[in-house]
Symmetry: C2
Subunit: 309 residues, 2 copies
């Protein structure tokens, strides 16, 4: 039996339908399963409750409902040997890249100015920004960061990236580790966060980090709200250290109606819609892992729990 839990109602329903069609022999339940919980072998969840995980003694894996696994790894007393797998969803990647490319171009092409001028019926061409001074730096070069980098390179932007461990992505100036972070920041006119949320990345985008960017840099965060210290971002926007930001994720979601981000000039808010799991593209991966678990084979897209991603 597979249990669906800790996800939005609509996505739960969509997964249930699609999984039933893909694996008609698999029993599927929406949690919690009260009757004979020992039947539950597989869990699909964004953020399960601790008592729910503990309830199922025969769990073989938990699959995250999205690319991130922070909602699962934060569960207290998660059994240490329980495999956690994530979805590596091509459509999720495609949509995330679209969000990033749109946000980069929106800033680069001075769209805020033109939208403001239109409100006043004002024909007001600006000198365009130079692409040489619109260098993109990406925090994180996993499936999402690498794909965004590749598409921005195709559009002839200069792209650098930062990872915890050394990594090579063709065409991208790759930095790593604490010293590499400093170098990345110094050359990032546009900073894109595509990191997983882990103990190490929590609050990474703080006042110190923002100060190391070139003055007037632009921040793009479609990854996780927890990567960012909101007070530091607001202070940097007020001081002009940041010229603006495109924010899709927040420490508190929905973003409270009185939050200063909403009305801050230069901040573009979207409601955690940069990219969402695409059920149709996720279900075959989940089905594959069910088959592999039953056959005793290694799972695909299993998370390194020590690294947190």
């Amino acid at each position: 039996m597979l249990v669906l839990t800790g996800m939005e109602r609509q996505m739960t329903a969509d997964f249930k339908d699609a999984l039933s069609a893909e694996m008609p022999d698999l029993e599927i339940a929406v949690g919690p399963v009260e009757d004979r919980p020992e039947r539950v072998e597989f869990m699909l969840s964004w953020a399960p409750r601790a008592d729910e995980v503990a309830r199922y003694p025969n769990l073989r894996f938990i699959c995250s409902g999205g690319a991130g696994v922070d909602g699962i790894l934060r569960v207290p007393n998660l059994p240490p040997d329980l495999p956690i797998v994530r979805l590596v969803d091509e459509i999720l990647t495609q949509r995330m890249t679209h969000y990033v490319v749109h946000a980069v171009l929106h800033h680069y092409r001075q769209t805020n100015h033109y939208e403001g001028a239109q409100l006043r019926a004002h024909w007001a061409p600006l000198d365009p920004r130079a692409i040489e001074t619109s260098r993109v730096g990406i925090l994180g070069l996993g499936a999402l960061g690498s794909d965004a980098a590749e598409k921005l390179l195709a559009l002839e932007f200069s792209v650098a990236g930062w990872t915890r461990r050394p990594k090579t992505v063709p065409g991208v100036t790759c930095h790593h580790g604490p010293d590499g972070l400093r170098a990345l920041l110094a050359g990032s006119d546009i900073l894109v966060c595509l990191l997983p949320l882990t103990a190490e990345t929590l609050g990474l985008v703080d006042a110190k980090l923002l100060d190391r960017l070139p003055r007037g840099a632009y921040l793009i965060n479609p990854a996780r709200g927890g990567l960012v210290d909101d007070a530091a971002v607001l202070a940097a926007l007020d001081s002009g250290q940041l010229s603006g930001a495109a924010l899709d994720v927040f420490n508190e979601e929905p973003l409270p109606p009185d939050h200063p981000y909403w009305s801050h000039p230069g901040v573009a808010i979207t409601p955690h819609m940069a990219s969402r799991t695409h059920v149709g593209s996720a279900v075959p991966q989940l089905a594959e892992n069910v088959r592999r678990a039953r056959a005793g084979q290694p799972l695909i897209n299993q998370v390194d729990r020590a690294a947190g991603y």
Copy 2:
């Protein structure tokens, strides 16, 4: 001697400086040249006056200040054998592609909705559009259309194109001629105009053409205002046949302050800034043609005057 005429003051000054640096032996004047006009061999202009062209008996070519040559070909009594050359400017192409990619993503990602929601501090995620029903059709597959197509394909959009004569662009469904236009329109959820303005394309985007698009299509025009019948576009926006438009060029520029485009919901106006000639990338081409003309060699990027581009 090379004469600069019929261009904006700033661009004229920039070209004068850059050409002087590139070709110190070439005499350069800002028109009209009153004293011994027979010295003028070369003209760089967006839109020369007829009396100016007639003034210079020894003109060897006119080079357009941009990608289009409609401002030159409309000059009455243009000497029939006078070569017209245009600039094929990589940076102009890059910027035009950025404009198109931005406009496609802006529409595809429902940015108008999110910008409106932000004004009301309203957290309001929508179901995303499907990429399968956001098919892009490009009118014109010259240097600009082909490049935009290539970059949109890299972003995984489905792309079709239309040209006067048969043409092949890898990955693009290519249509041509009058029958091909009908097929292109039927499959274009997003229609991008990247045609030159010629006698044949003047007013091409009229009520009949717009009616052949799928209902709720989106129009993007960064090419020439004259391609479009404004009354037909406004009617299609009002009826819902068009869901919106990104317009950078207009039949009258600057767009008059009382024009209904300015305040139409769903219309994004920019002041003819999608792409402008980049002096640094244009000057070497112009210098090359001066050398070729003096050496009696064939010119580069010469226009087919009968075709109009």
